[in-house]
Amino acid sequence: MRYLLRRVAVLLLTAWVAVTVNFALPRLMPGDPASNMIARYGGQMSPRAREAIMIDFGLNTHQSLLGQYFSYLGQILTGNLGTSYTFFPASVTSMIRQALPWTLGMVGFATILAFLFGIGLGMVAAWRRGSASWHRESRLDTALVPTGVMLSAMPPFWLAMMLVYFVSYKLGWFPIGGGIKPGLAKSSSAGLIDIARHAVLPAFTLTLIAMGGWILLMRNSMLTVLNDDFVKFARAKGLPNRSIAYRYAARNAILPIFTQFAMALGVVVGGQVFIEIVYSYPGIGYLLLTAVYNQDYPLMQGIFLIFTLTLLLANFLVEMLYVFIDPRIRVEAGK
């Protein structure tokens, strides 16, 4: 329990730092967003409209920096992230709410698939090498390592572009882009099928991108475990290979790579942003690009904040899961 409380405290602290970074960022950067915004109107703006924009950006010059900071914190706690300039008068919160389900769905799906496939392949690669080692190199291991390296070195946007060109455009198997055919209701069965059809290629791309890291991590972790005494002992006892591989080695090899989940999630999120851009997928990465192109700073910051908080929460959940599956941490935590 005390462990849990401590983790929650760290979570809140990090969230606070992230929010503060988000507050500081536009104020540290050269040129202020409000002036940029005003410049876009070519100076055709009355002093009062100018004032209104400054206030809306939270860059109220009459307020001290500390005052600005506290009103910013207050706004965030009430879920108010300001007004988008691109989609005026829509609020940043409402734009994010529309885009978030698309991204979460795909990221969740691809993360799980990539994890399962990556772990599986990494495990088999290590096991094959471990058992075939004396005489010859295992072909599978020899092939899988460079594959994993290549997948992690793959520019996600490029892979997406190539797949759009060859699979969607040339072969016509999937739609070229978008999330759903315009005019189709999301909840109808035709709509759901269409959503799935639009999601296949982006999800496939993202899974490939995310898989490379897991293959390599799991392979190395499994090789390390295979060197452990308890595995040697299991071999000496003459246990069947299958049981050594799955019940002894793999279960222990998965534990340490859980701690790398934060990094893996970062890769998925990064890949997701690029993939959404190429496929014009209506998620939050695409929205981020729209915000960047239109110099829509409130929207940009709101999206960054959501990304940060979501990642924080995901990492927290993984950490909790880790406590649950690794009894050693549980014992330590109980102290």
Binding site: T224, V273, I277
Partner: protein, 277 residues
């Protein structure tokens, strides 16, 4: 970890060969490239031919020449950022782990925050604020966002080495903290640091290309990333100009793979559990 061990590792040899190849291309670009990469005076949209090996793009530039010149930016951004990241990691990871105490608490909590900030969105937001900057702005931004993970790994290593007898001996003989870090700690974790360097360079190459692809670099410079930016914006795909997209991406992938292979191989050599005996 000796250089000889690297040569005997097949993955390292392949990675190093690709890297050397690209380095030569980058160095000899003015000699190899048949045309100027920015000259827009050729017929746009030409197919592959003996005169234009990879054809021309819709701006009337020679794709093959652009590809060769593009190697310069990618390679130098990768190596420069990799070095910068290593230096940050030296302070935030190695030094922090070695000195311990309050300094370590402060430094490692900064690391922990950077660890959970979403890297790519942070990169995009930072570059959006600093828009239109030079390649050096990109290098700085990428270095700021990409050091945290490695720093954590190095810190753990430094903590493990901190109380070894040879380090204690150096401490007792009155050597300064930085001297101990550089002369006694770093040489004992060189393998991991070198692996980290290649990992950071790989991250930088991909990040630079990605930022340029979405138009956050300087679109008038010729790099693999800006080539893809122009290709995407000219709807190269719909015009069937797939070479324009395929070629720069393939180069990024190859350079990235070489850095990734080196990262993996050095890690393998430095870690006895992964070694083949």
């Amino acid at each position: 970890m000796s250089p000889r061990a690297l040569l005997h590792n097949r993955r390292a040899a392949v990675g190093a060969s690709i890297l050397v190849f690209f380095a030569l291309v980058a160095l000899l670009a003015p000699l190899i490239a048949p045309y100027s990469p920015s000259n827009m005076n050729y017929t746009p949209g030409l197919a592959m031919s003996a005169k234009h090996l990879l054809g021309t793009n819709s701006n009337g530039q020679d794709i093959f020449s652009q590809l060769i010149w593009g190697a310069r930016t990618s390679l130098s951004v990768g190596l420069l950022t990799g070095t910068l990241i290593c230096l940050v990691q030296l302070v935030m990871g190695v030094f922090s782990g070695y000195v311990g105490g309050k300094a370590d608490t402060a430094l490692s909590s900064v690391t922990n925050v950077f660890l959970v900030l979403p890297t790519l969105p942070l990169l995009i937001v930072l570059s959006a604020y600093l828009r239109g900057g030079s390649v050096f702005v990109l290098v700085g931004v990428i270095a700021i966002t990409g050091w945290a993970w490695g720093a954590r790994v190095l810190r753990a290593q430094a903590i493990a080495l901190r109380n070894r007898p040879f380090v204690e001996a150096a401490r007792i003989s009155g050597e300064s903290r930085w001297h101990i870090v550089l002369a006694h700690i770093v040489p004992n974790m060189l393998g991991i640091m070198v692996a980290n360097f290649f990992g950071a360079a790989l991250f930088a190459v991909l990040a630079e290309a990605g930022l340029e692809f979405i138009g956050l670099g300087n679109p008038s410079t010729v790099t693999w990333g800006t080539m893809l930016y122009w290709a995407q914006n000219s709807e190269a795909m719909l015009q069937g100009m797939w070479v324009w997209i395929l070629a720069p991406g393939l180069c990024i992938l190859l350079l990235g793979t070489s850095l990734g292979l080196l990262n993996f191989a050095v890690d393998e050599i430095a870690n006895p559990n992964l070694r083949r005996d």
